[in-house]
Amino acid sequence: MIGMLLAETPALPLDEAGKYVAGAYVVFLVLIVVYVAIMASKLQRMEKELRELASFAEHRAEGEAAGNEREEVSADV
């Protein structure tokens, strides 16, 4: 079978080979783009989570500061 394949497969002309070469390079490009898109969505998720945590930390700090003020006032009274 291999011998028959070799005998029947001379070099393709440029116009026919071009689409295969382009196909191979486009596949590679698509894989990279898909990977980058997946990484971008991960980054977006992390950014969202970080924003949530930052806002939570700020609220907590504000709450603690208010609590300290109340303690000081009650101690004065």
């Binding site: 079978m1 291999i2 394949l5 026919e16 295969y20 990279i32 992390m46 989570e49 949530e52 939570f56």
Partner: protein, 241 residues
């Protein structure tokens, strides 16, 4: 920490890929035997080499993990294998495109190089279900490392066996029987190989940075989720999945 040096590495990768593509299409001569279709080899062969070396590198990191018990090496091993599997997908698709153009068939089952690469690829495709079937993180890391070492040792053995199997139709890039590649083709090939290797390293670093950042976020969430010293015990929103 993993993100250190990512920017210059990314720039170097882009420059190397641009140089490689320019050389492939404007410098390297057409192959006398295969014609224009041989240009696929400047993509397909470096991808295959880098993927196989990546599997071995994953095994080396796994050895470091088993010796030291440091989970950092397990993360390196996982990411190296993960990236090599992605490169493996590209190898199989670009190889099939070349086979269709050159042989008239997408796949030839009696060609040892193709089948052996498919075996290696499928073996590593089982790495994910194998790894994530184990819940305990310590055991998961240890068993995955054993898998990575065993499979990593199989890769060069498989490569040598195929080399000795006297391939019939799969061309040899570094074949010595007919003098190998001419200088201009070899130079182009080596630039493409360097560009592909740089791409692999960059993507591994990027993935490690993302994983590390995600881990740090989890730590931060746990720390903030703990009840405040003054009482309260308020809970933050559930993790974004």
């Amino acid at each position: 920490m993993y993100g250190k040096g990512l920017r210059p590495l990314s720039i170097a990768t882009v420059v190397a890929i641009a140089a490689g593509l320019s050389l492939v299409f404007f410098y390297a001569p057409l192959d006398a035997d295969q014609g224009f279709i041989q240009k696929i080899f400047y993509l397909h062969v470096p991808l295959a080499i880098v993927a196989l070396v990546g599997f071995i590198v994953g095994g080396v990191f796994a050895i470091a993990h088993l010796r030291s018990g440091n989970r950092k090496w397990d993360a390196y091993s996982y990411v190296a294998i993960h990236m090599s599997v992605i490169f493996g997908v590209a190898v199989l698709i670009t190889g099939a495109i070349w086979a269709k153009a050159s042989w008239g068939h997408w796949w030839v089952w009696d060609e040892p190089t193709l089948v052996s690469f498919l075996i290696v690829f499928l073996m590593y495709a089982t790495y994910y279900p194998f790894r994530y079937a184990i819940e305990d993180p310590e055991r998961q890391a240890r068993y995955a490392s054993v898998f990575a070492v065993t499979a990593g040792a199989f890769v060069p053995l498989n490569f040598m066996a195929v080399r000795m199997a006297q391939s019939l139709v799969h061309p040899r890039t570094f074949g010595t029987a007919n003098g190998g590649l001419p200088g201009s083709m070899m130079f182009t090939f080596l630039v493409c190989l360097a560009a592909t290797a740089l791409l692999w390293v960059t993507l591994v670093k990027l993935e490690l940075t993302a994983k590390s950042t995600s881990g740090q976020l989890k730590r931060l969430r746990r720390a903030l989720d703990a009840p405040a010293p003054g009482g309260g015990g308020s809970r933050i929103a559930p993790e974004v999945s």
